[in-house]
């Protein structure tokens, strides 16, 4: 049994991890907030992360920074959260996910907006309110679509790794990504992104 309050250095584990809460709490919360659909769940996952860090404190070799280590723990906790729920698949949706993309998926309509969202990525990312809109659109995705999308299009994780970590077939993964991308595009249109780069092209 490890006595977590016993000081092995200048600080006790509890003091040091509490200090990490101050230093890295916002970053971890932001990281979680992008990946799960509610702030309550994000807070819970961050709490679980810090408690795990305390329990594993002696195993932290300090070859990486505490921040990197904490993010790595959190990332695994988030994946565990999704794994625990049910196997991630389109079977989560009784109709195979059709209803959630009904408005976006119509074969002609989805490409008719020729004047819209010619996105200028750099310009969008410069504007805080537009970043806020991106997050709002992300939150509208069904939770499993969101997880897959975040791993692929925000973290740039490989398709192979995502399918392995989430127990997904490549075919289900591709369908989820396609629908997530369509839903996001649809969301941007509804929120007025077209006006953004009208003069840029």
């Amino acid at each position: 049994m490890v006595d977590l309050n016993k000081s092995t250095d200048l600080e006790s584990p509890v003091e040091e991890v509490s200090q990490w809460v101050e230093e890295h709490g916002d970053l971890l919360y932001r990281f979680a907030r992008y990946r799960v659909s509610s702030h309550e769940l994000a807070e819970d996952l961050v709490q679980i992360t810090f408690i795990s860090a305390l329990k594993d404190w002696q195993r932290f070799r300090r070859e990486s920074s505490p921040k990197t280590w904490l993010v790595s723990i959190l990332r695994h906790k988030i994946i565990d959260h999704y794994r625990r729920k049910k196997p991630a698949s389109l079977e989560d949706f009784p109709d195979g996910g059709e209803a959630v993309t009904q408005s976006a998926i119509a074969s002609e309509e989805m490409v008719q907006d020729t004047e819209s969202i010619r996105l200028n990525p750099e310009e969008i990312l410069e504007h805080q309110e537009l970043r806020h809109t991106l997050r709002e659109c992300l939150d509208l995705l069904p939770e499993r679509f969101k997880q897959v999308f975040v791993m692929r299009d925000i973290e740039n994780e490989s398709t192979e790794n995502i399918c392995r970590e989430l127990n997904l077939s490549v075919s289900n993964f591709s369908v989820m990504m396609y629908r997530a991308r369509l839903l996001l595009k649809d969301c941007f249109l509804k929120k007025g992104f077209p006006s953004l780069s009208k003069n840029k092209y």
């Binding site: 990525p121 410069e126 396609y178």
Partner: protein, 83 residues
């Protein structure tokens, strides 16, 4: 083997192409469709732009004021003390 695909099939392949290598047959079908379809060519640009935006989001978001609520911070520190 069919020679033509619909816009919906083409858009599915455009998304798939971002994530996995397409078979030569699928690539050919897609390229042929894109040569003839301006809408899907635009859609391809949109998909690629969307990906660029999101790939840059995490770095850009470090400027945002998303903070963990103080109540949550206090609760976590309390939990740590109770361990």
């Amino acid at each position: 083997m069919k020679l033509m695909i619909t816009c919906e099939e083409a858009s599915t392949l455009l998304s798939e192409k971002i994530d996995v290598p397409l078979s030569p047959a699928k690539r050919l079908l897609l390229q042929t469709h894109l040569l003839m379809c301006r809408k899907c060519t635009l859609f391809k640009g949109q998909m690629n732009s969307l990906r660029k935006v999101f790939l840059g989001l995490e770095d850009a978001s470090s400027k945002d004021e998303i903070k963990m609520p103080d109540s949550s911070r206090d609760r976590i520190k309390q939990k740590l003390r109770e361990q």
